[in-house]
C-alpha cells in the first residue's frame, strides 16, 4: 500500500519464533516502505512501530525529539538551562524505560537521560516502542517499556544519505556513507554535527533559552550475513559541549553570573553474533557484547557534577523450537557491570555493581498470522552485587504476556515484575539547576543505600483494526498500572530551599502510576490521514513529610500531564508534496507547594510542516514549532540574585522557546546497480 497513507497497516512482521532473537527487529524493518506508526497485531508484546516516514513528520533532531507525533510519550525539558529533554512513558521518567539499539542495551546509568541526545534522528531507521516491561531476554529493567531503535543498516539501497537542518540559531549536519564490500559484508559510517551558535533569549530574563552547544558524533558499523550466521559490530564516539545560564557568559561583568557548562565524551563498542545450529527447526545461539566508557564534567553555578562510567554488558542467548514452530524456548545468561565514579552534591554517588542473570522464556503462538492465542512466559534470576556498598541479593523476575486475536480484535494482557538501580546524579541532572540544599532522608554518606527500585506492572490493551471503505480503520485502548515497592524520589514540596531525597519502602504507601490511553487513525479524506488520542495519567509519590508517621501518605507527583489530547492530520500528495499538522493539549500540572502557583496553566502546542520531495533534489522541508507561541515566561525563578535568593531553574512545565521556524534538506543517493 502507499507511503504515508496507510499508517497503521500491519506490516509483515517476522514472528518471534522464526528469527534469531538478536536480529528479529532488524528483519522486521527491512520490509520496505512501511509507513508511519503501526500497532503490531502479531507480536505478543504491545509494540508500536514508528517508521522513518513518521520520524520525518516532525523537526526531529535526536531521539528525545522523535515522539512529537506520538501520544504515548511526552517529552519535556529537565530544567531551564541545560536544554536536556527527557521523555515520559506511562507517567514515568525516561530512565524507567529500557533503551536498546537493535535489541542490544545502550543507554543507562550516566547516559540514562543525556543519552537520548546522542542518537541523531537522521541516523534512525525506525523505532519500536513497547509499553510495559517486555521480554526478560533484555534484562529486568524496562519498567515503563522498551524503546528499541534501529539505525540505518549498511545492507541498504542507499549509498549515501545527507541531511541539513537549521532552526533558530541551531544547525545540524548528518552524513551517512555505505560501502558494500561483498554480498556478505557491508559497512557504513555516520557523522553528525550540531551547533547552537547564537545567544537566544526570547523571554528577556537574562538567561539563554537554549544552551550554546557543539556536538560531534561519529560511528562506524559493520554487518556480515553468512550462510548460517549473522554479525553486526560497531564503534561510536560522541562529544558534547554545552554552555548555558546567563547570556553574559564569557563577557566581563560587575557581578558574578550564574552559568552552566557541560562537557562529555562517550565511547561505545558493540558486537552481536548469531548462528543457526544444526538440528532443531530454528535452533540458534546468539551473543551480544557491549563496552561503554563515558566521562562528564559539568558545573551548575557553584555546584559541580563530574563523573566517569565504565560499563560492560554481555548476553548469551540460546533459542530453539520445541516440536514445531509454535513453541519456542529461549534461555540464556547475561551480565552487566557498571562502575560509576561521581562527585555530586558534596557526597559521592559512586557505585560499582555487577548483575549476573540466568533466564528462560517460553512462547507459544497458535498460528503464524497471529490469530488465536499467543503467550510468553519468562522467568529470570539475577544476582546483584554492589562492590562499594556491600549490598547484594537475588532478584527473581517473572513476566507473563498474553494475547488473543479474533478477526479485527486483539486483546493483550501482561503481568510483570521489574527492578532497576537508580543513578543519583545523572537521572536528576535537571535538579542541579537551583540553589536548593539536598537532604537525604535517613541517609548519610557513610550509610548510602544502593537505590534498587522495584515495581509490579499490569497492562491491558485492545486493538480494533478493520477495513472500512477499503481503508484501514484502527482504534486502540490501553490501561497500564505500575506499582512500586521501593522507589527513589526527590520531594520539592517541603520547603522552598531544599529538596528531600528518599529511597525505600514507605510502609504501605506505594507510589504508583496509572496510564489510560485511547486513540485511533483513519484516512478520512483522500491521501489525508487523521489521528487522535486521549491519555489520562495518575501519578502518585510519597509525601516525604509524612514518612515519620506510622502510615505515610501519597500525594500527586509534580510536573506530569494528567490529561493529554492529541490530534494529527497528515497529507501526502502524488507529486511528493507533504503537509503535517499536529496539536497536543496538555492539561494543568501540579507544581511544588512551596513558592509556586498551585498548578501550571493548561496549554496547547501546535506544530506544522510542509515538505516537497523530488528525484533531483531530495526532500526539502519547512516547519513551524509552537505556532501558538505558548511559553512558560518565568522558567527561572530568582534569576536576578542567583547566588543568594531562591534561584530555581528546575521547575519547567512548558515550552521555553516560543514560535520557531525551521528548514531542512534530506537527500538519498542510491546505488546504481
Amino acid at each position: 500500500m502507499i507511503g504515508l497513507l496507510t499508517a497503521g497497516t500491519i506490516n509483515a512482521q517476522v514472528v518471534d519464533t522464526s528469527a534469531i532473537e538478536l536480529f528479529e527487529t532488524l528483519e522486521e524493518v527491512q520490509v520496505d516502505m512501511d509507513p508511519g506508526i503501526s500497532l503490531s497485531k502479531k507480536s505478543v508484546l504491545s509494540k508500536e512501530l514508528i517508521s522513518e516516514v513518521e520520524l520525518r513528520k516532525a523537526a526531529c533532531c535526536d531521539l528525545s525529539e522523535s515522539f512529537e507525533t506520538n501520544a504515548s510519550i511526552s517529552a519535556s525539558y529537565t530544567d531551564a538551562v541545560t536544554g536536556t529533554r527527557q521523555i515520559k512513558l506511562l507517567g514515568l521518567e525516561g530512565p524507567y524505560a529500557l533503551y536498546t539499539r537493535g535489541n542490544l542495551q545502550t543507554m543507562g546509568g550516566l547516559s540514562s537521560v543525556l543519552g537520548l541526545a546522542l542518537i541523531p534522528g537522521a541516523w534512525i531507521q525506525s523505532i519500536q516502542l513497547s509499553k510495559g516491561p517486555g521480554s526478560i531476554v533484555n534484562g529486568a529493567s524496562a519498567m515503563s517499556g522498551q524503546i528499541n531503535y534501529e539505525l540505518r543498516p549498511s545492507f541498504t539501497k542507499e549509498k549515501a544519505h545527507f541531511n541539513l537542518f537549521a532552526g533558530p540559531g541551531r544547525f545540524e549536519q548528518n552524513a551517512i556513507y555505505t560501502w558494500k564490500q561483498s554480498p556478505r559484508w557491508s559497512s557504513n559510517a555516520m557523522v553528525h554535527g550540531r551547533q547552537q551558535l547564537f545567544r537566544w533569549d526570547g523571554n528577556n530574563d537574562g538567561y539563554l533559552d537554549a544552551p550554546l552547544s557543539n556536538h560531534v558524533f561519529v560511528q562506524n558499523a559493520w554487518q556480515h550475513n553468512g550462510k548460517n550466521s549473522e554479525a553486526q559490530f560497531g564503534i561510536k564516539a560522541s562529544y558534547i559541549k554545552n554552555i548555558g545560564g546567563s547570556t553574559l557568559y564569557g563577557y566581563p561583568t560587575l557581578v558574578p553570573i550564574w552559568s552552566h557548562e557541560l562537557k562529555t565524551n562517550r565511547y561505545e563498542l558493540w558486537a552481536k553474533r548469531g548462528y543457526f545450529l544444526d538440528g532443531g527447526i530454528n535452533r540458534s545461539i546468539g551473543t551480544q557484547l557491549a563496552a561503554n566508557y563515558q566521562e562528564l564534567e559539568s558545573y551548575f553555578g557553584t555546584r559541580t557534577f563530574n563523573a566517569q562510567e565504565r560499563n560492560l554488558y554481555g548476553n548469551l542467548i540460546f533459542q530453539d523450537n520445541i516440536r514445531d514452530t509454535r513453541y519456542t524456548l529461549k534461555a540464556g545468561l547475561d551480565y552487566n557491570w557498571r562502575n560509576l565514579d561521581q562527585e555530586i552534591w558534596g557526597r559521592t554517588g559512586d557505585y560499582n555493581i555487577l548483575t549476573t542473570g540466568a533466564y528462560a522464556e517460553y512462547s507459544y503462538v497458535a498460528s503464524p498470522d497471529g490469530e488465536g492465542l499467543s503467550l510468553i512466559l519468562g522467568q529470570r534470576l539475577d544476582y546483584l552485587q554492589d562492590f562499594d556498598g556491600g549490598s547484594k541479593g537475588f532478584y527473581p523476575v517473572p513476566r507473563a504476556h498474553l494475547k488473543y486475536t479474533a478477526g479485527p480484535w486483539s486483546f493483550r494482557s501482561q503481568l510483570s515484575y521489574s527492578y532497576r538501580v537508580a543513578t543519583l546524579g545523572s537521572e536528576y541532572m535537571g535538579y542541579m539547576a537551583n540553589n536548593r540544599s539536598f537532604e537525604f532522608y535517613n541517609e548519610t554518606q557513610e550509610s548510602f543505600e544502593l537505590p534498587v527500585e522495584d515495581a509490579i506492572t499490569t497492562g491491558q490493551s485492545i486493538i480494533f483494526t478493520k477495513d472500512v471503505f477499503f481503508k484501514e480503520l484502527q482504534f486502540y485502548f490501553d490501561v497500564y498500572k505500575t506499582l512500586f515497592m521501593n522507589k527513589a524520589v526527590f520531594d520539592f514540596d517541603n520547603t522552598l530551599d531544599s529538596a528531600t531525597y528518599y529511597y525505600g519502602y514507605a510502609n504501605g504507601a506505594m507510589p504508583y502510576s496509572t496510564s489510560i490511553q485511547v486513540g485511533g487513525q483513519y484516512e478520512l479524506i483522500h491521501r489525508t490521514m487523521f489521528k487522535f488520542a486521549y491519555r489520562y495519567q495518575d501519578v502518585k509519590q510519597v509525601n516525604t513529610a509524612t514518612l515519620g508517621e506510622y502510615e505515610p501518605v501519597l500525594e500527586e507527583a509534580i510536573l506530569y500531564v494528567p490529561h493529554l489530547i492529541y490530534g494529527g492530520v497528515s497529507y501526502s500528495g502524488r507529486k511528493g508534496l507533504g503537509f503535517e499538522l499536529n496539536a497536543t493539549y496538555n492539561s494543568s500540572q501540579r507544581l511544588p507547594t512551596a513558592g509556586y502557583a498551585e498548578r501550571s496553566p493548561a496549554f496547547t502546542i501546535l506544530n506544522a510542516q510542509f515538505s516537497k520531495e523530488g528525484r533531483a533534489y531530495g526532500q526539502i522541508y519547512v516547519g513551524f514549532q509552537n505556532l501558538l507561541n505558548v511559553r512558560q515566561l518565568d522558567p527561572i525563578v530568582g534569576g536576578d540574585l542567583p547566588f543568594d535568593g531562591n534561584f530555581d531553574a528546575s521547575i519547567v512545565w512548558g515550552p521555553i522557546m516560543g514560535r520557531q521556524v525551521y528548514a531542512g534538506w534530506r537527500y538519498d543517493l542510491r546505488f546504481q546497480e
Binding site: M1, G3, D32, H526, F671
Partner: protein, 127 residues
C-alpha cells in the same frame, strides 16, 4: 471485475510490470488518484489490486497515470520517454535487472520495442 458493496465501487486487478519496493511505491502512488480507495501492488505476482469510485475515476485514467511514471500495464505499455524516467535500478524491461531481482518470466514489454510493434501479451506468462 467484481462489484463492491455499492455499485459505485469497482474492484479489479491489473497486471503491472516492475521489480522492487521502489517500483511498488511508485506504482501505488501513481494509481492512487482521487476516487481510488485502494491500490496494492504485489511484487511477486505483479498484480495491482484496485478499488475505486467509478463515478469519480476510470480504469483508463489509472492506467494512464501508471504509464506516466514509466511502468508498463498489460496491453498498455509506457512510451520510451516515460520509461526513460525510471531510476536505473528499476529498469524492469532489462533482462539483467530482472535476473538480479529473481524474475524468470519475460517482461511485458522488451527494451527498444515501440508502442506500435508491441505484441498483445495475452497468455504467454503464467503466475
Amino acid at each position: 471485475m467484481a462489484l463492491g458493496a455499492q455499485n459505485k465501487f469497482t474492484e479489479t486487478t491489473i497486471e503491472v510490470d516492475g521489480l522492487c519496493g521502489m517500483c511498488e511505491e511508485r506504482i501505488e502512488n501513481a494509481a492512487y488518484l482521487p476516487g481510488v480507495k485502494k491500490a496494492d501492488w504485489d511484487r511477486e505476482t505483479h498484480q495491482l489490486a484496485l478499488a475505486f469510485r467509478n463515478d469519480k475515476v476510470t480504469e483508463e485514467e489509472i492506467i494512464a497515470s501508471i504509464n506516466e511514471v514509466g511502468h508498463d500495464v498489460k496491453d498498455h505499455p509506457a512510451t520510451d520517454e516515460q520509461y526513460a524516467n525510471i531510476h536505473g535500478c528499476c529498469k524492469f524491461r532489462d533482462a539483467e535487472q530482472r535476473k538480479a531481482h529473481g524474475l524468470t518470466e519475460e517482461p511485458l514489454c522488451k527494451p527498444g520495442e515501440t508502442h506500435e510493434e508491441h505484441p498483445a501479451h495475452g497468455d504467454k506468462r503464467k503466475h
